[in-house]
């Protein structure tokens, strides 16, 4: 039998690497399965002795608790599953606001860090070093207890121009309330969006054909803005009525009141993450060699054109992968909402497991949800990364 293996005939099977590999892997898998089932059996047995069985049916049960911030109608008679969804949406909103704001702020920081202005440069450097060496949890707790809760009480609200109310009950900002003409306006907005996208692709095609580099995004945004403004003034009644917050009774009413928990969590995450993004942006810009800038200036590009057409696209390729992991960090770090009392996914899930006693079920659900978040974000950023690579070539 051994002879039939040809050249390797001399090798007995216990020294044949291929067979050993397969055996090793089999042993490894068997080991994993044994340990996994051991753990699962322990858990099953342990829970069974206390009369608890694993099941997700409890999610249909009535939650019994109220939640301070919900994006849809929720009451104490809603189910655990609805409470979970409330948390999911809250995490999403913090993540989206956080990602956008920290990108903007991070780019500003990164550019400021490279500024030739000594003061601005040092200020940005100080900020980066300060924030990057703090523990996010401590920072968030401090930010919430030491800053947002120390704002004046409702009665002595600090009012900023534009009816922005700062109190320790939250930050009140004016908010548009839809009027009767809002549905029509929404239609106009959609038309504007379609037009803008049309302009975008038309300019792209033009750019490809002629080699010119028009400001595609700027023109597209302008188109949208013009259509929106036209719609606003053409309609007989303004589609949105601006409602400024007022202090009435115990709390602020009207406008939009952003709770201190939301503000502290979001702004804290933004301040923290943007310091890391600033560093990413800085090293991205530095990675573009000086020769590129000089060559582009020599070709007659002005400073802005150089930045937009030469430096930025190249820097972006370096920036995207670490930026992705910063976005992922922000999303995962939003689970620290539990420290400031903002009802995000993790916080509400913890409340649910606590009221229902369904620890294993709830935590598996939470972890799967975060995994999906991370996966979707990575996929999107990878797709974008691939795209900008292609455009460059």
């Amino acid at each position: 039998m051994q002879k039939s293996t040809g050249q390797k005939a001399a090798i007995p099977f216990w020294r044949d690497e291929r067979i050993l590999n397969i055996l090793g892997q089999a042993a490894f898998i068997i080991g994993l399965v044994i340990i996994g089932s051991f753990i699962f059996q322990n858990m099953r047995a342990g829970l069974a002795k206390q009369g608890i069985t694993l099941s997700y049916n409890f999610l249909q049960g009535i939650s019994g608790f109220d939640i301070s911030e919900t994006l849809f109608t929720y009451s104490r008679t809603s189910s655990y599953w609805q409470a979970f969804q409330v948390g999911l949406l809250n995490t999403l909103s913090v993540s989206i606001v956080g990602v956008i704001a920290s990108t903007i702020f991070g780019v500003i920081l990164g550019v400021a860090r490279l500024s030739t202005n000594f003061l601005i440069n040092r200020l940005a450097a100080f900020y980066l070093e300060l924030i990057r060496n703090l523990s996010l949890l401590v920072f968030l707790i401090f930010w919430y207890l030491g800053v947002f809760l120390k704002l004046p009480r409702v009665g002595d609200a600090v009012i900023w121009p534009g009816s922005i109310y700062l109190t320790n009950r939250g930050v009140g900002v004016p908010w548009g309330l839809p009027t009767d003409s809002y549905p029509t306006f929404r239609l106009i907005l959609i038309i504007g969006l379609v037009l803008a996208i049309g302009v975008f692709f038309a300019l792209r095609a033009y750019s490809k054909r002629t080699g010119q580099a028009p400001l595609t995004i700027l023109w597209a945004s302008l188109t949208f803005a013009v259509v929106a403004l036209l719609g606003w003034f053409v309609l007989p009644e303004a589609p949105l009525r601006f409602d400024a917050p007022v202090i009435e009774g115990l709390n602020m009413t009207g406008g939009k009141v952003l709770s201190p928990e939301f503000m502290a969590l979001t702004s804290g995450l933004v301040l923290y993450t943007s310091a890391f993004i600033g560093e990413v942006v800085r090293s991205g810009i530095l990675s573009v060699s000086k020769g590129q800038v000089e060559a582009s200036r020599a070709l007659g590009f002005n400073g802005f054109q150089t930045l937009r057409l030469i430096v930025f696209p190249q820097a972006l390729r370096v920036i995207i992968p670490p930026l992705t992991s910063q976005y992922l960090n922000l999303i995962k770090n939003s689970s620290l909402a539990i420290a400031v009392g903002y009802p995000d996914l993790f916080y509400i899930s913890n409340a649910i497991q606590n009221q229902s006693g369904r620890t294993v079920e709830m935590f598996s659900l939470v972890m799967i949800t975060y995994l999906i978040f991370s996966l979707v974000t990575s996929l999107f950023m990878n797709w974008y990364n691939q795209r900008i690579k292609l455009v460059e070539r």
Binding site: Q25, N133, F142, K332, S374
Partner: protein, 398 residues
């Protein structure tokens, strides 16, 4: 921009400071506006902070609870053990500095003088004495190291290897209550002590695990590769806090009925497992940077797979990523704060406890500013020292 400059007198006619300011602060109109805004921000922030720190803040909450913040509920009469353990570390640090960083006088002075510097804070005479002894011990270590740098190297490395077991042994004790070193349960470990131990254990144990996972991810065996990839991606996809909750709340359910694991140990396990996944990715980055030729050369010299990996590839890969590894270690240190959420009394947990004392309610700012300061000094110190040593030792360069 260029026009503005041409209107100015020639550079040589202006004094150095003014010229510098012209160039670096008021180069153009937007620049000047930025400078003024920046200066205002600095003025406002510094003034606000100093006014608060020196007139409003009540620092008594910190000084009265210094012991809690440093060691938690660790018994007073056993605290000497911790000082001895710390002394051992400082002694080793002195040795190491003298042997491997002979020229780094600044770092040496900074590191060994740090305890003595702390002694000038209002912390009580006993601690002050200990702190001065630490510096003295460090200097003695430095002197010894300097006199015999060649022969001591291996001993010092051995010292570092056993330092964690020694530290843990001294912290925990090993005799019954009447013995010389009564056992102090982990429920009494707290404050900076607990943060320190969580960090060190997290770093040390996640390192080999991370390297194994990184190797596993590059494996040619599909089962091992798949398992490593799954593990790394699963762990990296969820927040640390979920892992800590699982380790505190669910892990006990996974164990057989006759076995429980200490909760501090469980937190250590959680942090280690979490950090290993990130380390694995860092190590993988280092491995990828090693050119194929290195493998081929090693094979050509007759080394087998394991030898190649252990003696040729890994040392180079790890050397390449030392700055990244230090960054990861700092992240572990900062992340240990999360154990406060699962009820451990680390720096943050003890801060919460201190704030529950009737005498010190509402002093969150003072306590958290102080805690932040500790985190900041230690993580900035770590990154600064590693940068300094990297430059001196030429680490990180090929």
């Amino acid at each position: 921009m260029t026009q503005t400059n041409s209107l100015l007198p020639p550079l040589t006619e202006r004094s150095g400071v003014l010229r510098w300011m012209r160039k670096n602060l008021f180069g153009s109109w937007p620049d000047a506006i930025l400078t003024i805004v920046g200066a205002l921000i600095i003025y406002w922030a510094v003034k606000g902070f100093l006014t608060w720190a020196f007139t409003i803040a009540e620092w008594e909450v910190v000084s009265a609870n210094m012991r809690l913040i440093m060691v938690g509920q660790y018994p007073v009469k056993e605290v000497g053990r911790l000082w001895i353990a710390l002394g051992f570390l400082v002694f080793l640090a002195g040795n190491s500095l003298a042997i491997w960083a002979r020229k780094s006088y600044f770092v040496t002075i900074l590191l060994l003088g740090f305890p003595a510097l702390l002694a000038f804070l209002p912390i009580g005479d006993e601690s002050r004495g200990w702190l001065f002894s630490l510096t003295a011990l460090g200097l003695v270590g430095w002197g010894i190291g300097r006199s015999k740098p060649e022969s001591l190297g291996k001993i010092v490395i051995f010292g570092w290897v056993i330092s964690l077991p020694i530290f843990v042994l001294l912290t925990r004790g090993f005799t019954s209550e009447d013995g010389i070193m009564p056992i102090v349960g982990t429920n009494l470990w707290g404050g900076l002590l607990l943060t320190f131990l969580l960090t060190v254990v997290g770093i040390i144990f996640s390192f080999p695990l991370g390297v194994l996972l990184a190797l596993g991810r590059r494996s040619e065996l599909p089962a091992i590769r798949l398992a490593s990839v799954t593990y790394i991606e699963l762990v990296r996809g969820v927040p640390l806090i979920t892992i800590l909750f699982v380790s505190q709340l669910i892990l006990p359910l996974f164990l057989p009925p006759n076995m429980t694991i200490d909760r501090v140990l469980r937190a250590m396990v959680g942090i280690t497992l979490f950090s290993a996944a990130y380390l694995a990715e860092n190590v993988r980055g280092g491995l990828q940077a090693i050119p194929r030729g290195q493998f081929e050369a090693a094979y050509a010299l007759g080394l087998n797979g394991v030898q190649t990996m252990v003696f040729i590839i890994l040392p180079q890969a790890l050397r390449l990523i030392i700055p990244i590894l230090v960054g990861q270690f700092i992240a572990v240190f900062k992340d240990t704060a999360l154990v406060a959420i699962v009820g451990l009394l680390d720096l943050v947990g003890i801060a919460k406890t201190v704030l529950a004392q009737p005498d010190f309610l509402g002093l969150q700012r003072e306590v958290y500013v102080f805690i932040s300061l500790i985190y900041w000094v230690l993580s900035y110190g770590m990154s600064y020292l590693s940068q300094q040593l990297e430059v001196k030792l030429g680490v990180g360069k090929q």
